[in-house]
């Protein structure tokens, strides 16, 4: 078996994992944008994209082709170095986070011992990229968007980590494969329903999506931190956003919905069904709720979500000690 010997070499593993991640990344970037436009269309009693391909399926590919033929403009007055580096800083965490996602019992690039911690610490790096983009643009809207984005991202980081601490207490592991295996009998969404809701709300806030989209608020800040970006550089921000949407949904699946556990169908199919169910909920929320004000948003995090997450953690651990 030549294939087997190739697989067992370091190079073989590298090629397969890179190819796999790029396939999932591209597939998701095309499908998630299409889903968003299609679902928003149907929520608003429209059809959404219909022209390119069956039911507009190839619309995202056509958009990508258009964007790659657009000129990349660097406006005068920007900080050229930071302006150029910002897309890299936003994009590379979203690719790095794929490493620890357990797509099935066999498909995981690397099962790091500290997978959970790794995922959430890497996800924070994108915030730096967003601030770089906003600051370097030398545009008032971008700066406003960037500082709002920082305040929001760091604030909602706390409830996220406090809610996942419940899972760590229950499984005694930061290894994602072990967390999934611990859910083979019961998904953690059943005993840990409140943390799941906290996680989902905070994840939507981390993604800067409506109703928490004050950093990019189209109607007041034009597009926030990426107002000055054009062509493919803008597309990179866009791709990173949709990849992050997939990744937080994948993490919600792994932590609360039993990951790849499920009857009959192959594990990877279950994983994608659950992940896209969460993606659907995130899109649904976006097209249902109006935008919050910045003060409401910060108050909701600090005065409600964080105390709730703390109380929940204490109650969970207290109940564990009783039995």
């Amino acid at each position: 078996m030549e294939l087997t010997s190739l697989l067992n070499t370091f190079l073989g593993k590298v090629i397969i994992s890179v190819a796999g991640v790029m396939v999932v990344f591209t597939f998701n970037a095309l499908i998630a944008v299409w889903l968003e436009r299609k679902i928003s269309g149907h929520i608003q009693l429209r059809l959404g994209p219909m022209e390119v391909g069956p039911h507009g399926l190839l619309q995202s590919a056509a958009d990508g082709l258009k964007l790659i033929c657009k000129e990349i403009i660097t406006p005068q007055g920007v900080d050229k170095k930071l302006f150029g580096v910002a897309p890299y800083m936003v994009f590379f965490p979203s690719l790095l986070m794929f490493i620890v996602i357990p797509f099935s019992d066999r498909l995981q690039v690397q099962d790091l011992n500290i997978g959970l911690l790794y995922f959430f610490s890497i996800s924070c790096i994108a915030t730096i990229g967003i601030f770089m983009a906003g600051w370097a643009s030398n545009n008032k809207y971008s700066l406003m968007g960037a500082v709002r984005s920082i305040a929001q991202s760091i604030a909602y980081e706390i409830p996220i980590i406090l809610s996942i601490l419940n899972i760590v207490v229950l499984t005694q592991s930061l290894k994602l494969s072990e967390i999934v295996k611990a859910q083979s009998n019961m998904w953690f969404i059943i005993p840990q329903f409140v943390p799941f809701i906290i996680y989902l709300i905070s994840a939507i806030a981390e993604l800067n999506r409506t109703p928490f989209d004050i950093p990019e608020a189209e109607s007041e800040l034009v597009a926030g931190f990426h107002t000055e970006y054009s062509g493919m550089r803008f597309a990179i921000f866009f791709m990173a956003e949709y990849t992050n949407m997939f990744l937080v949904s994948a993490m919600a699946t792994t932590l609360f919905l039993g990951g790849w556990n499920g009857p009959l169908l192959p594990p990877i199919v279950w994983f994608f069904i659950k992940t896209y169910a969460i993606v659907f909920i995130i899109i649904w929320v976006r097209w249902t709720f109006p935008r919050l004000r910045p003060d409401q948003l910060m108050n909701f995090c600090w005065k409600f979500l964080t105390p709730l997450a703390l109380i929940n953690l204490l109650v969970t651990t207290f109940i564990l000690k009783l039995f």
Binding site: M1, E71, L95, A151, Q172, M232
Partner: protein
């Protein structure tokens, strides 16, 4: 994805293939994926430079502010409350990192005292939150 699954024949011990390997090998992937993302972004920003038409004119380089001429640059002061929120974040972030080792071993610890200790720790931190609240950090 079907093709991807087919690469793994049943006879292969996949757990050792994917889960095994040293720490160095695990983090080699982190390095590798960083390189790939840098290469990817570089390629997709260089290709349009070759393909795209170039518009001429000075106005395309101006800062977009809804059609108005920009007044001054944007590197100005912003609201000090963002700093206060950031300080609060630092306090809570460090707290969370102290909690992670505790959460890892909590199930094995015997006795309610380990719960009480963390309870006290959290109460002190919530006092900080309450202080910030009373001082009006959250009134925008």
């Amino acid at each position: 994805m079907q093709i991807f699954i087919c690469y793994y024949p049943n006879g292969l011990s996949l757990n050792t293939l994917i889960l095994g390997g040293s720490v160095l090998e695990s983090y080699a992937y982190v390095f590798l994926f960083s390189i790939i993302s840098i290469v990817f972004v570089t390629i997709v920003t260089i290709v349009p430079r070759i393909l795209s038409p170039k518009a001429i004119g000075e106005k395309k380089l101006t800062t977009y502010e809804c059609g108005e001429e920009p007044i001054g640059d944007a590197w100005i002061q912003f609201n000090v409350r963002y700093y206060l929120v950031a300080l609060l974040f630092v306090a809570f972030d460090v707290e969370v990192f102290f909690l992670i080792p505790w959460a890892m071993v909590y199930k094995n610890l015997q006795g309610i005292i380990f719960w009480l200790e963390v309870f006290l720790f959290l109460v002190i931190l919530v006092l900080a939150l309450a202080y910030a609240w009373a001082k009006g950090v959250f009134e925008w």
